[in-house]
């Protein structure tokens, strides 16, 4: 743990895609066990901000610190840092040529250098954790969307990360499958995992989130305790957005 007690610290982040100014000055500190929920209209830069945290997108300006280490310093070993930050995507992004177990063990063996047996044991434990002990041999194409997303979560958790990033992980799912994935995330939060969650599920945000950020046009416009922001939005833009999604 570093001196100021943060897991993640963003300082003056700006991101341009060509002429498009997508992130326009973002400062953010996240402390352990926080569940930060990020909401905002489409195109406001939520995904870009999330991907800046593990430097899948390199910010044009500004600094990203993780666990006291500056990730935007090009001398930092990003591969190593990323093993401590799990990320789950809207489109699951499981590896279709590997079965559920091998999807999980790949990085355990190649990056964390676990033995094959240790990796398999850990993979099976994580699959059980997300309720899929009967699907260890299944290939992604043999799983439902909700099951695939739970394998993806198990794949990230198996790395035993210090924090997890979720980018609209239920948006590609049929309504009846959303619950099982949100359930896994809620359990994770109650176990004390530090999380940043981009979502449109306001119920989940209010119940599980410890802090809500409303993003609009590349800046964080409003933040606070989830129930307060949801019930009492101060900014007119926030009011308009919430009126639409609720």
């Amino acid at each position: 743990m570093n001196s100021d007690g943060t897991v993640v610290r963003l300082e003056g982040i700006h991101k341009w895609f060509g002429d498009l100014h997508v992130l326009r000055g973002i400062d953010l500190k996240i402390v352990p066990k926080e569940v930060v929920v990020l909401i905002g209209p489409s195109g406001s830069g939520k995904s870009t901000l999330l991907r800046t945290i593990n430097v899948l997108e390199e910010p044009t300006e500004g600094k990203v610190f993780f666990d006291g280490v500056e990730l935007t310093d090009i001398r930092t070993d990003l591969n190593r840092a990323r093993t401590h930050m799990g990320m789950v995507f809207q489109q699951f992004n499981l590896f279709p040529h590997l079965n559920a177990t091998d999807n999980i063990t790949l990085a355990l063996i190649k990056v964390l250098k676990l033995s094959k047996d240790e990796a398999t044991t850990r993979a099976h434990a994580e699959l059980e954790h997300v309720g899929l002990s009967d699907k260890v041999e299944s290939y992604p194409s043999q799983l439902s969307g909700g099951q695939q997303q739970r394998v993806a979560i198990a794949r990230s958790l198996a790395m035993q990360p210090k924090m997890m990033l979720f980018d609209e992980v239920t948006s590609a799912l049929d309504p009846e499958l959303i619950g099982e994935v949100l359930g896994v995330m809620q359990d994770l939060a109650s176990e004390g995992m530090t999380m940043v969650v981009v979502t449109h599920e306001m119920g989940f945000a209010g119940r599980v989130g410890t802090r809500l950020l409303f993003m609009d046009d590349g800046v964080i416009l409003e933040e606070g305790l989830p129930p307060e922001v949801i019930n009492n939005p101060k900014h007119t833009r926030t009011q308009a957005f919430l009126a639409e999604v609720l």
Partner: protein, 438 residues
């Protein structure tokens, strides 16, 4: 109330037996006569031609206008027997086609309908083939046979001479053992890595030894020159492919680099080899570049190098398209797990991309096999000549166009199995689109 357990049912049998059980006597008759008339035509035509003979020998000192080795075949083609076979086929076939057209809609089930349609189509094929034959008999068959049907020419240059084989048993065995050892070694490493049993290694070694035996025999014995030509075509395309496919992969990775200094040279290379004709590349290397630099390379090596360098340019585009067809999310997920760029390529991207690029790469290989013919512009020795070179040699000494047909047959014997493999691989990778269209 007690619920009864559902009856365990085996899935319905949909094979040939099921198909036959659904036939009516009429559908059986139409399909049977369709098959029969096509068989009758093919067997009948071959029998008539064989009874006249496929090739003959002329006495010494007779001009080509008075006698040609293809005269028996020409006589067979003009014979009344063949005409009869053709006429009978046309009449019978037409009757079957008419019967099929009249009745296919009234069949009681799909299998019977398919049988009637198939019988009609087979009969129509027999009618078409015999119609073509009857038309062909009306043309100048003698002239055609003299130019194109001198089959004896294709086996020219002595048959297998056993003396040379006996003399070289040692070297043939050497080739055999070498191949068996090399393949067994490679497969052994694979089997060890994959923890498969020794059976795979043994089979591979046996197959390799068999191949080596044939190879050794062809190499030392005096065989028909087209077989030697086919051997050279295989060596040129095999070695060219090994070089081209590995070079292509490296070039593809270069062209996808985010660094312009890495991309640019690869692009220049690819555009140069794709932008100039292969025949120019072969000639430039063979008569210009290599001699001018006094490089000590024989023409055969130059040919392999140019074919490989050329294929490298084309296959790199295939690899690149395959890799780029994968979703961006794949590499992002992989990098997020902490895998490096090269690990992601090796364990996530390439295994998926390879499956997608195998069919187009095999197509490139078929093209390469045919492109080896361009090598004949280089002065290769007799022993180095490939199929087209051999065909040209025979043509220029005999002025008989059958030599060209011999070369074509050689290419087809090599390329058709390759094309078959491409089709099978593609079929296995495709979703069920055919049933929607067909």
């Amino acid at each position: 109330m007690v619920a009864t357990a559902p009856e365990t049912m085996s899935p319905p049998d949909r094979g040939i037996r099921w198909f036959l059980a659904k036939q009516t006597s009429w559908s059986r008759a139409v399909l049977g006569s369709g098959i029969a008339v096509l068989t009758l035509y093919i067997v009948g035509a071959i029998a008539v031609l064989t009874s006249h003979g496929w090739t003959g020998t002329c006495p010494e000192g007779v001009t080509r206008l008075e006698c040609s080795p293809s005269d028996p075949l020409a006589a067979g083609l003009k014979s009344d027997g063949l005409g009869l076979v053709g006429m009978v086929t046309v009449v019978l076939g037409s009757v079957i086609v008419a019967a099929a057209i009249a009745s296919w809609k009234r069949m009681p089930n799909r299998s019977a309908r398919e049988a009637v349609i198939s019988g009609g189509v087979l009969a129509a094929q027999a009618v078409t083939l015999s119609g073509a034959l009857l038309w062909f008999r009306g043309t100048d068959i003698d002239r055609f046979a003299r130019n194109f049907l001198n089959i004896s020419l294709i086996g020219q240059k002595t048959g297998l001479v056993w003396d040379t084989v006996v003399d070289s048993i040692g070297s043939i065995a050497g080739v055999m053992l070498t191949w068996a050892a090399v393949v067994a070694g490679l497969v052994g490493v694979y089997a060890w890595l994959r923890k498969t049993g020794p059976r795979l290694v043994i089979y591979s070694a046996l197959i390799a030894a068999g191949g080596g035996l044939v190879w050794g025999l062809i190499s030392v014995a005096s065989v028909p020159s087209f077989i030697r030509g086919a051997q050279n075509t295989l060596v040129l395309s095999g070695a060219g492919a090994a070089l081209g496919f590995s070079l292509g992969l490296v070039l593809a990775l270069f062209t996808m680099s985010k660094r312009r200094v890495v991309r640019a040279p690869a692009r220049i290379y690819i555009n140069f080899f794709r932008g100039t004709p292969l025949i120019w590349q072969i000639m430039f290397a063979g008569v210009g570049f290599v001699p001018a630099l006094r490089l000590d390379l024989d023409m055969y090596t130059i040919a392999i190098l140019v074919l490989g360098l050329n294929l490298g340019a084309y296959s790199s585009e295939v690899y690149r398209a395959g890799i780029q067809s994968l979703e961006r999310g794949q590499i992002e997920a992989s990098r997020t797990l902490g895998l490096s760029y090269f690990q992601s390529m090796r364990y996530v991207i390439m295994p998926q991309a390879i499956r997608r690029v195998i069919p187009p790469l095999l197509n490139e290989f078929v093209i390469l096999i045919k492109d080896t013919s361009l090598v004949s512009v280089l002065g290769l020795t007799i022993a180095q000549k490939e199929l087209l070179g051999i065909g040209r040699d025979i043509y220029s000494s005999s002025f008989d166009a059958t030599a060209w047909l011999g070369a074509a047959a050689g290419y087809l014997i090599i390329t058709l199995p390759m094309i078959g493999i491409v089709t099978i691989v593609e079929k296995r990778m495709r979703s069920g689109l055919t049933s929607v269209i067909g």
